[in-house]
Structures are given as C-alpha cells and as structure tokens.
C-alpha cells in the first residue's frame, strides 16, 4: 500500500498496456499516486503514452518507490517522467529504494525514457531496474545518473540495470558511486571525474536487418552491440546537459538505423 510511515514514504505506480484489438493500445491498469502518479497523455498512433508526475520530492532516506510496467502482446507503451528524480537525504534512517520492474510480452514494445536521476549530497539511494523480455519483445530504455546538483558533492548511489531476454541474461550492470562506495569509483577506471553517466538500451528483434556495428560516438560515448539482438550506448559526460546531448544523438542514430 502507498502511504507515509515513520520509516519513509512507500509509493508504487502500476501501468499495464494491452493491445485494444483495434490497432491501438489500452491501459487497463494505471495506478499510483503521490510521488509516482501516472498520467495518460495523447497517444501517438498505436502507442499509448504515460507520464509519471511526482507530487512530492524524493525519494528521501527510507522511502520505497516502485514502478511496474507490463506490456502485453502487440501493445506499445511510451513511459516517461515529467521531471528529474532527485534523491535527497531524509529524516528516516537508511537508504531509499527505487525499483523498476518491466515486463514486455512477445510483439510488445516499451519505451522507458525517464528524466535524470540526480543524487544530491547526503542522499543514499539504491535503484534496481529489471526488465524481463519475452523473445520478440522490443525495448528502448534510457537511464541517466547525475552525481550531485551543480557544483555539489554526490550522495551515495547504487544502480543496477538487468535486462533478461527469453529468461536469459542480456545485460547486467551495476554502478556504485558517491561517499562510501567501493574504492576507485571516481578514479580513471570507472568515472574519472565525470559527473553524469548514462545508458541507452535498444532491444529490437528482427530489426535492424544489419546488426549495429560497434563504434565510438564521440568523446566518452560508445555504441556496443550486446551478445544478443540488442545494443547498448554507454556514455560518460561532465554534466547532465552534455550527457543528454550525447544520448539524444545516439538515440537519433539508433532510430534512424531502424528505418
């Protein structure tokens, strides 16, 4: 249940998309509130669009946020957020958690393109994003982490992104940074002083006809075909703006590749 306890806020958004049988996408489940309120916006063709609108700041220490998105066979869902998520220190002790669960059926397509996650000084947040894709499911996913607001030291942030395709692991990456993170996180092997880091994952079965070739997309940005029918764009940048610019360029390239 959603609510506020002494330990912090518990909030959950649930979105379920199904093919409506008329070539469009219906949203039989659209639940949530407080910091995670889903709002349906104008559809684009066969694609339903939902924006997560936060009525509160957070997550703060002790908060538990969860987003569940299920996309059925033949349905297309575009899920975004209205604003950046700002992890802040809270009254409650302990880390905050933000768990995203994605489930896409064969022939379904999900675009999960939230705004940045900003780790503010003193915050402690553990994020997990777990996508289960059936064979033939399509996914476009972006995640961006910004270490501290402008000129600010970051908080503690751990973020794990797991994508499974047909029950087998496709991508599993965890990044841990900020005070108290395992040593070397800001050193020359991991982030090297960059304050923004992001990934773009595209799982697109059957398309492109020619698998993407690995290449550098400018400074600090690499396009990498994964060991399945998928590509990852990984980028580090000095700040959120530069990161978004790099990922936007990569996104344009990937979507152009698919045409």
């Amino acid at each position: 249940m959603d609510g506020v306890t002494a330990a912090g806020v518990t909030a959950r958004a649930r979105i379920e998309a199904r093919a409506d049988g008329r070539g469009g996408t219906a949203l039989p489940v659209l639940e949530g509130g407080g910091p995670l309120a889903p709002r349906r916006t104008r559809a684009h063709g066969t694609e339903a669009r939902v924006l997560l609108v936060g009525a509160m700041s957070g997550p703060l220490g002790g908060d538990r946020f969860a987003v569940e998105a299920r996309v059925g066979e033949g349905a297309r869902l575009h899920l975004g957020s209205a604003a950046a998520t700002l992890a802040l220190p809270g009254q409650a002790k302990g880390e905050a958690r933000y768990d995203v669960r994605i489930d896409v059926a064969a022939g379904g397509e999900l675009h999960w393109l939230p705004e940045q996650l900003i780790s503010a000084r003193g915050s402690d947040l553990h994020v997990t994003t777990r996508a289960e894709l059936a064979p033939g499911a399509r996914l476009l996913l972006r995640e961006e982490q910004v270490l501290g607001r402008a000129g600010e030291e970051p908080g503690r942030l751990t973020s794990r992104l797991t994508v499974r395709l047909g029950g087998a692991p496709l991508l599993d990456q965890e990044l841990s940074c900020g005070p108290g993170a395992p040593g070397g996180w800001d050193g020359p092997a991991v982030l090297g002083g960059h304050r923004a880091v992001g990934q773009l994952v595209l799982v697109a079965p059957g398309s492109p006809a020619n698998p993407a070739e690995a290449r550098m997309l400018g400074e600090g940005t690499a396009l990498m075909p994964l060991a399945g029918r998928a590509v990852l764009v990984s980028a580090v940048a000095p700040d959120a703006l530069a990161l978004r610019r790099r990922l936007d360029e990569a996104l344009a390239l990937l979507t152009a590749d698919r045409k």
Binding site: R160, T162, V163, R164, A168, P169, L170, L171, D172, Q173, E174, L175, S176, P182, G183, G184, W185, G187, P188, A189, V190, L191, G192, H194, V197, A214, R215, M216, G220, T221, A222, M224, P225, L226, A227, L232, S234, A235, V236
Partner: protein
C-alpha cells in the same frame, strides 16, 4: 579432484603462466593515452577501480565455477556483464588460451569438456575457476587469482607504457593487498549465495570508462597491447 595443493595457486597466479595475459593491459593503455593514468598515484586509483568492478565480477564468476555452477550459465552471466564487444572478444580469447595451458598443466575431463563446449573460448574467469578446480584449489584461491590478475596486468603494462619505475608499480600492488583480501571474501560469499539464488545474483559491478575505453582502444590502428 586432485588433492589440494596451495602451491598450485602460485603456479596459476604466476604472471609467467603461459596463458596470453602478457599481451593485454587491462585497459591501462587506453587510460594512459587518455591522460587518466600518468603516474603511480593514478595507476593505484585505476587498479582500485578495477578491483571493485571487473575484478569483483571476475572473481565471483571464478569462485562460482570452482563451486561447480554450470559453466554455460556462468558464461552467459559474464556476457551480460561485459557490454563491450571488444572486452567480450578479449575475455573469450584469453579463456581459450587459458584452457589450452590448463589442460596441458592439470589435465581434467571437465577442462576437456569446457574446451569442446566453447571451441572459440569461454569467458576467462569461468575457465580460471574450472582450472583452479582441476588444480585442486578452493573458491577463495580462484577469487584471489582473478583479482590479482585484474590489477597486476595493468600495473605491468603501465611500467612498459609510461616507463614507470617498476618498484613504484609493485608498491601499488602491495598497497592494494588488504583491499584485495576483502574483495576476495566478498566474491566467494557472492558465489556461495549464487548456489542457492542462481547466477543472476552474482555481482555485476561495472566500470563505464573501462568499457568505453576498450571500444576506443579496439579502433586504434597502432597500439602496444591487444586490449
């Protein structure tokens, strides 16, 4: 399994063990070229970052292989934890080279089966674990070996790349030793947990600059190291 001999660990961890490692810099060549590693202090930070990311992942995969988790599942887990195709190629190439050396050194049906199942090479940490198993070593030994390789390779390479004083490079490794102990314990704990929770539960600590740097390095026309 053969009787446990701790000395086998020295054979396996020796930088001269003929399994191809000498031609690889563990990302140090890319980091040196980018100006991120310039001296012993930056080498230490580089190695520390490797230890807690790619080192931890490799060590837990190796320890899990010693414990007998399925090699194909571990190999798939390694693929998912290695988004850079250049690093996947490197890991498989080194795995293939290691399985050759291992079969000649500690002949075992398990290693024969691994070589047969992965003719182009399994991920090196998985091979390392099965090699340790064939040598009668423990999960912790395999974890140590993987972790030591994760930092000794870049240290040796940096001596060649920067003409760094070899005593300084060795000092870096010695200073990292207590941290290496802790990560080795963590890796074995994770491997034991994977026995009940499955391989998905293994650590997935990533290092964006290692992955991106490896892709940049693979595209260079002129380089000293293969990776």
């Amino acid at each position: 399994m053969p009787l446990m001999s701790r000395a086998a660990l020295l054979v396996l961890a020796d930088g001269r063990f003929p399994a191809g490692g000498h031609a690889h810099s563990g990302g140090a060549e890319a980091a040196v070229k980018a100006g991120r590693v310039t001296d012993a202090a930056t080498l230490e930070r580089f190695c520390r970052g490797r230890l807690h990311t790619t080192g931890l992942v490799a060590a837990s995969l190796a320890a899990a292989a010693v414990l007998g988790l399925a090699a194909d599942e571990l190999d798939a887990a390694a693929d998912a934890r290695t988004p850079s195709p250049a690093l996947r190629t490197t890991a498989r190439r080194l795995g293939r080279q290691l399985v050759r050396a291992a079969r000649a050194t500690w002949p075992s049906p398990e290693l024969d089966a691994l070589a047969k199942a992965f003719p182009k090479g399994a991920h090196q940490p998985v091979v390392l674990g099965l090699t340790a198993r064939a040598a009668g070593l423990e999960p912790l030994d395999a974890a140590y070996c993987a972790l030591y390789e994760s930092v000794s390779g870049p240290a040796t390479a940096t001596v060649r790349l920067l003409s760094l004083d070899p005593f300084d490079a060795t000092g870096v490794l010695a200073r990292l030793a207590p941290e290496l102990d802790r990560v080795a314990d963590r890796a074995v704990e994770a491997a034991r947990r994977a026995l009940t929770e499955g391989v998905d539960d293994l650590p997935a600590a990533s290092a964006p600059l290692l992955e991106i740097g490896a892709q940049a390095h693979a595209a260079w026309p002129v380089r000293l190291f293969a990776s």
